[in-house]
């Protein structure tokens, strides 16, 4: 196999332009080269053994730099090219125009309040003025929104718009440190407003107690400098991304799940967007949201703090940031990595031939699998009240709990048999097709998946779904059952 070494890399291969390597895939060729030319190893690979950014490997005219190609067997006549990637980008510039920075000033109290920022060479008076001039939208005043809103307020961001349609509930207090017991049942934006007022009365906090939809999102975010996505569902993420692309606003994305979190910056200077990295959401019901899958309490604090830090860096115009990158944080094993996000030229919203030109024209419900699908055989279900009545009447039926063991440990469903969803098809003989079977999960979504699975497996007995799942039913039958842990 002939390997051509670019003139720019030849110094590390004793000036040889072409090397004959008796290997037949990229991985073996690289091992051979770095064994033969020891000096090349630390030039081509970083300390973690990853190929450095400036190295590109071509097989014929195809770019085979990515590791996924490294084990493919090469044709003997293929010429391998080792070339440098000649590329770069301008240093970060503030997204706040100079005129706006110059139009703000500080009083004595502000100089004292922001002293720790003013001391930093990279922030200073100029940077702090940019922070004060900035107008930031935070979507979601929940787990991620809690640190984001508080840190932006503490840092002195002049205008913060908080959008959330929800009220504070008891389960929110495990991670949403913006809210306290006194805020229960109040709108989340109301406690956000109180909290920010207590931090700094001069901050203009715009509280919007609305749900973002295709018909209102553009008017909510247009004219702002940054949008920070602190939501917990795919529909909102795609909607926010698309509106940001159309309005030309950079987006700081964050997401958490159980022990893992992600942060990224999308749509900065026409850079890659959320859809470039995630062209489609996972199938509905497959990946639970945090409200279904859970998350460890400090995780949103970590991820949200990084989001706030990234937003401030964009505002000030300093540092390296996550443009075109996704930071993945594993809080359980304390391993972080940064994944590169490439711009997709065929992206339907930010690519060369974008087909989505208005958010109103795109069906987000359908895209995210949230529509009540009109199926050939619709799935019938009982409301919690109807099921409670049937249980009270002593109707003959089989109750099947399809939740995972750790979920059942929180709350049992009385008299239900337990078949996790993955075992349903092969255990269908345990069900009696002569009587009604009612499927139960946490929120009534996985149970639909369970019914469809059994139908596909050929089960013909009558099947019903508990609408809203055990969550919707717990107040009806469990209050006196002592079923709670």
């Amino acid at each position: 196999m002939k390997v051509y070494i670019s003139a720019t890399l030849r110094n590390f291969f004793e000036r040889n332009p072409v090397l004959e390597v008796p290997k037949s895939n990229i991985r073996d060729i690289l091992t051979y080269l770095t064994d033969e030319y020891v000096e090349s190893k630390k030039v081509l690979f970083d300390a973690d053994g990853n190929l450095r950014s400036f190295v590109q490997i071509y097989a014929g005219d195809e770019n085979w730099t990515d590791k996924e190609f490294w084990d493919k067997v090469l044709d003997d006549n293929t010429e391998i090219l080792l070339l440098p990637a000649i590329a770069g980008g301008a240093p970060v510039e503030s997204i706040i125009p100079d005129e706006r920075r110059k139009s703000v000033s500080f009083d004595d109290a502000e100089v004292e309040r922001f002293g720790r920022h003013l001391l930093l060479k990279d922030i200073g008076v100029k940077g702090q003025k940019r922070i004060k001039a900035a107008r930031v939208v935070v979507v979601g005043a929940g787990a991620l929104g809690s640190p984001v809103i508080q840190y932006l307020a503490a840092a002195g961001v002049g205008t913060i718009k908080v959008i959330d349609f929800d009220d504070v509930s008891l389960e929110n207090l495990q991670s949403q440190v913006l809210h306290t017991s006194r805020d229960l049942k109040r709108p989340k934006v109301a406690s956000a407003k109180d909290k920010v007022r207590n931090i700094n009365r001069n901050i203009n906090l715009e509280a919007e107690n609305v749900k973002l939809e295709a018909d209102n999102i553009v008017s909510e975010i247009d004219g702002y400098d940054i949008v920070i996505d602190c939501t917990d569902n795919y529909k909102a993420r795609y909607l926010i991304n698309d509106a940001c692309v159309l309005c030309g606003i950079p987006l700081v994305f964050g997401a958490i799940y159980q022990f893992e979190g992600q942060v990224g910056i999308f749509n900065l200077n026409h850079g890659p967007c959320y859809r470039c990295q995630f062209p489609a959401p996972p199938e509905a019901g497959l990946v639970p949201t945090c409200s279904e899958g859970g998350a460890i309490s400090p995780l949103p604090g970590i991820i949200g703090s990084i989001q706030a830090n990234e937003a401030l860096k964009l505002i000030i115009g300093i540092g390296e940031h996550l443009d075109g990158k996704l930071l993945v944080v594993d809080s359980l094993n304390l391993r972080n990595r940064i994944v590169k996000v490439k711009k997709n030229n065929n992206c339907p919203i930010c690519g060369g031939h974008a087909v989505i030109t208005k958010v109103e024209d795109f069906d987000y419900e359908e895209f995210c699998g949230l529509k009540e699908v009109e199926e050939e055989i619709p799935i019938e279900g009982f409301t919690p009240e109807e099921l409670a009545k049937r249980i009270e009447n002593g109707d003959q039926m089989t109750l099947v709990d399809v939740r995972e063991p750790h979920e059942r440990a929180i709350m049992r469903f009385p008299n239900a048999i337990v078949i996790p969803i993955g075992q349903l098809a092969r255990r269908k003989n345990e069900l009696n097709p002569e009587i009604d079977t009612i499927f139960i999960c946490r929120e009534g979504k996985r149970s639909i998946l369970a019914i469809n699975t059994l139908r596909e497996a050929g089960y013909a007995g009558p099947m019903y779904n508990l609408k809203g799942g055990i969550e919707a039913m717990k107040d009806i039958i469990f209050s006196h059952e002592g079923a709670w842990l």
């Binding site: 051509y4 670019s6 003139a7 720019t8 890399l9 110094n11 332009p17 630390k42 030039v43 450095r52 950014s53 400036f54 590109q56 071509y58 005219d61 770019n63 090219l81 070339l83 440098p84 990637a85 000649i86 590329a87 770069g88 980008g89 301008a90 240093p91 970060v92 510039e93 200077n269 026409h270 850079g271 390296e320 711009k343 060369g352």
Partner: protein, 128 residues
């Protein structure tokens, strides 16, 4: 700082002006055995137009062809140059990531002035 011939310097600056407000880029050449940059050849910035103001990238095949051609003419590649329109002549993290150790990198800050442009050239190099 490495010496650069008047001709090479003029070619670099000219290509930065022509590309403004996009980033310009190109290769720096030296005659084999020389320690001065004798010539510069602009290369095409393949980034999309709306991205080229803050990014540059070169088609590796164009470089492959160019370096073969320059070899026959007795030139070595000394390094690369690129411009930062309306921005300081300091390397970004992305610039640093893409620097081949040992080569010379010139970053040219170019800003609009009353009569034409102001330029500032800085040299960078990384070692391993």
């Amino acid at each position: 700082m490495i010496d650069i011939s008047k001709n090479a310097r003029a070619k670099c600056i000219d290509s930065c002006r022509k590309a403004y407000p996009s980033e310009a880029c190109g290769v720096l050449l030296k005659k084999s055995g020389n320690e001065i940059i004798d010539d510069a050849v602009p290369m095409y910035n393949i980034m999309d137009k709306d991205r080229a103001g803050t990014h540059f990238s070169v088609d590796p095949y164009e470089l492959y062809k160019l370096e073969k051609e320059m070899e026959t003419k007795g030139y070595d590649i000394a390094g690369f140059y690129h411009s930062h329109p309306d921005c300081a002549a300091v390397p970004s993290g992305e610039d640093l990531e893409h620097m081949v150790p040992g080569l010379t990198y010139l970053i040219i800050s170019i800003t609009k002035a009353e009569n034409g442009f102001n330029e500032e050239i800085k040299e960078y190099r990384i070692d391993i």
